[in-house]
């Protein structure tokens, strides 16, 4: 179970680190290299994004990575093969991240069965709110997998409760409005919002959007359980190559 893994891990670490890659960007070989280095550097969980042509919630960095990956032939099938390979070689939990249409076209139940078969632990689907996700939730439950839900600073207390009634594993808290990959002010407002999130659920809280350096992660210690680094690792790899991923992770934890 994802939740118990996280809680167990938190006994020895103040905050866990989750990173994100777009599978097949810049290539599957590079993706593998990045995963390997990140796991060795001490990353606790990883999001594997199946690229989608219309990634509405993603900012310019991840958007371009999605497009490039698709252009380079990253299909859903190849992503499954890649995910199976890394989840059998490395012991940390891997999650899928994608958009609703990828799961819908594959079939919600079939997708969840496939996840179970290749040992993925959960999925983050930003454009599938609980109201639209009945089939998805049912399929994930059947296989004891975690649908990861999202809280935002705009979400009312009432709705935080509603969402947490469907959540499993952990909850992903958006640090701010906007899309992925822009700067975030790590301020008192964020702390107030995170305490609202904490009240709404007993699940561990992950914080993402704009987390990119050691100071950000230090700020989140004691306020959240998981720091999520998304666009920044993609930027580092773009600037310095896949070989720089491990060193970057070591520099921030």
């Amino acid at each position: 179970m994802l939740e118990s893994y996280i809680k167990e891990r938190l006994k020895t670490k103040k905050i866990l680190l989750m990173t994100h890659i777009v599978m097949g960007y810049p290539s599957f070989e590079a993706s593998y290299d990045i995963v390997k280095q990140m796991v060795e550097a001490g990353v606790d969980l990883m999001e594997l994004q199946i690229p989608f042509s219309e990634p509405m919630a993603d900012g310019p960095v991840i958007l371009k990575a999605n497009q490039k990956a698709i252009e380079n032939g990253s299909s859903v099938q190849k992503c499954f093969e890649f995910a199976q390979k890394v989840s059998s070689e490395f012991t940390i939990p891997f999650l899928f991240m994608s958009y609703a249409n990828v799961l819908f076209k594959y079939g919600m139940e079939r997708f969840s069965d496939k996840m179970d078969q290749i040992n993925l632990k959960g999925a983050i689907v930003p454009d599938l709110p609980p109201e639209e996700g009945a089939d998805y939730i049912k399929a994930m439950k059947k296989n004891n997998l975690s649908p990861i839900y999202i809280f935002s600073p705009e979400t009312s207390d009432e709705r935080l409760e509603y969402i947490s009634s469907y959540a499993s594993g952990f909850v992903y808290c958006l640090a701010r409005k906007g899309v992925t990959g822009k700067d975030t002010a790590f301020s008192d407002d964020l702390a107030t919002y995170l305490s609202r999130c904490r009240k709404a659920t007993d699940l561990p809280l992950a914080v993402g959007f704009g987390v990119k350096e050691k100071a950000d992660i230090d700020y989140l210690k004691g306020k959240a359980d998981i720091a999520v680094i998304g666009s920044q690792t993609i930027r580092i790899v773009e600037e310095k190559g896949a070989g720089a991923a491990g060193e970057f992770i070591r520099s921030i934890i």
Binding site: F52, S53, E54, P55, M56, A57, G59, P60, L63, K64, Q67, I70, S75, V76, Y99, A100, N101, V102, F104, K105, Y106, P126, D127, L128, P129, E131, E132, Y149, I150, F151, S152, E154, T155, S156, R159, I163, L174, K177, G178, V179, K182
Partner: protein
């Protein structure tokens, strides 16, 4: 998210969490104005004083004679301010924005008509305005870009994805998730998450309301068929909604591009290339591959060049409540030329799709029958595209001369 706007299997609100509160607020505001008769009065007054409503229903005597079948009527949405039906939706949403107290509007645009209409509305109501437009469309619709900028809007060319309408929509959503406190997204067509399909259709229903009354006044009976082009589907929804309860055949005409077998088209409902999917916040027929990745679309008209279609029309398609056809780029140019020469009317390339289909069918209808074609917009914006398609040597000479002047 209590009401999610389903039409059969289609529609819904596949929203990122960050936008849920904004959509709840929008839906509440829309529900309020729907119940308020004074709002519709205010809207009609605005449209009759700022735009040109009621737009005429023109009898096309020469075209009728040429085809020798049904009497052809043209609903003149081209005579709206800014030259297209887009004004109906934009001014309605503008009044709504005033009520919600927001100060900035954003919009996507394909052909540029919706962008120009939004920039006009923003100027009139004193809103800041940013328009997202695919880079490909910026290149093929320069005159509209010029006007949007002159009207005070910022035009952002979208360089991601296929660089056309759908990519402009994605980019507008990305702006919105950052600035929803101050900003309203004036979605231009009857697509997207609930309540947009319903809300846009609601404002466009003014077309059908007028057209129904006008044809009854002239002919004393209902038309046999009505024709509208279908990109996102807002002008079609506008016209069709006037005849939902009548024995009138509703015909939607999609962009056949280089032909339905060419893979170079934008036909979601007539071709068998589309399937049900979820993107841009709603469920409908999309032109997509087996993995659910959206395909490239093609049309001579930027305004019909879109991967999805109104969920309301998808449902009408499945229910058999409307018939969908397609017209190729070549047929569209022929129909446009004929309409200009016979009637002195210049339809937009988008609208010319509806004309092309009506011309195919008119001869086989009785002389007692009447049909209505929705001329959703005027064609002078398309001068560059049309001149190129017609291959007019004098136009080329003019452009070359102009270029020489600028280079001198």
């Amino acid at each position: 998210m209590k009401n999610r706007g389903y039409y059969g299997d289609y529609g819904g609100a596949f929203l990122p969490e960050i936008l849920v509160a904004t959509f709840d607020q929008l839906e509440q505001a829309f529900e309020k104005i729907k119940k308020d008769p004074s709002f519709w009065n205010e809207y009609e007054t605005l449209m009759s004083t700022y735009s040109c409503r009621a737009t005429p229903l023109t009898f096309a005597g020469n075209l009728t004679k040429k085809f020798g079948g049904a009497k052809i009527y043209i609903k003149r949405e081209d005579l709206n301010h800014t030259g297209a039906h887009k004004a109906n939706n934009v001014m309605g949403q503008g009044l709504l924005v005033k009520q919600m107290g927001k100060k900035r509007v954003i919009a996507e645009t394909g052909a540029g008509q919706h962008g120009v209409a939004t920039a006009t509305m923003a100027a009139k109501f004193g809103f800041d305005c940013t328009i997202y437009m695919g880079e490909v469309d910026v290149l093929r619709q320069r005159p509209n870009v010029f006007w949007m900028e002159q009207l005070g809007a910022t035009v952002v060319p979208v360089k991601d994805g296929t660089r056309i309408l759908k990519d402009a929509i994605n980019e507008a959503f990305r702006d919105w998730v950052t600035h929803m406190d101050t900003t309203h997204y004036v979605l231009g067509t009857a697509c997207g998450p609930h309540p947009f399909p319903e809300m846009v259709s609601y404002f466009q229903s003014i077309i059908g309301k007028e057209a129904r009354q006008q044809i009854l006044d002239i002919e004393g009976k209902l038309p046999k068929r009505v024709y509208a082009c279908v990109g996102g589907g807002s002008n079609a929804m506008g016209l069709f909604s006037g005849f939902f309860d009548d024995p009138v055949e509703l015909v939607g005409v999609e962009a056949g591009g280089k032909g339905l077998n060419s893979g170079m088209h934008a036909s979601r409902l007539k071709s068998s290339d589309a399937s049900c999917g979820i993107a841009q916040g709603y469920k409908t027929y999309f032109l997509q591959d087996d993995d659910g990745q959206m395909k490239e679309t093609h049309s001579i008209s930027a305004g019909l060049d879109y991967v999805g279609v109104s969920p309301i029309l998808s449902d009408m398609h499945d229910q058999g409540k409307a018939r969908f056809e397609s017209a190729t780029d070549t047929q569209v140019i022929d129909a446009l030329k004929l309409t200009m020469q016979k009637e002195g009317i210049i339809p937009a390339l988008e609208s010319a799709h509806a004309f092309a289909q009506a011309f195919k069918e008119a001869p086989s209808l009785s002389k007692e029958d009447a049909i209505i074609i929705n001329q959703s917009g005027r064609g002078d914006k398309d001068i560059f595209t049309v001149a190129e398609a017609i291959n007019d040597p004098k136009w080329k000479e003019f452009i070359i001369g102009k270029a020489r002047e600028y280079n001198a």
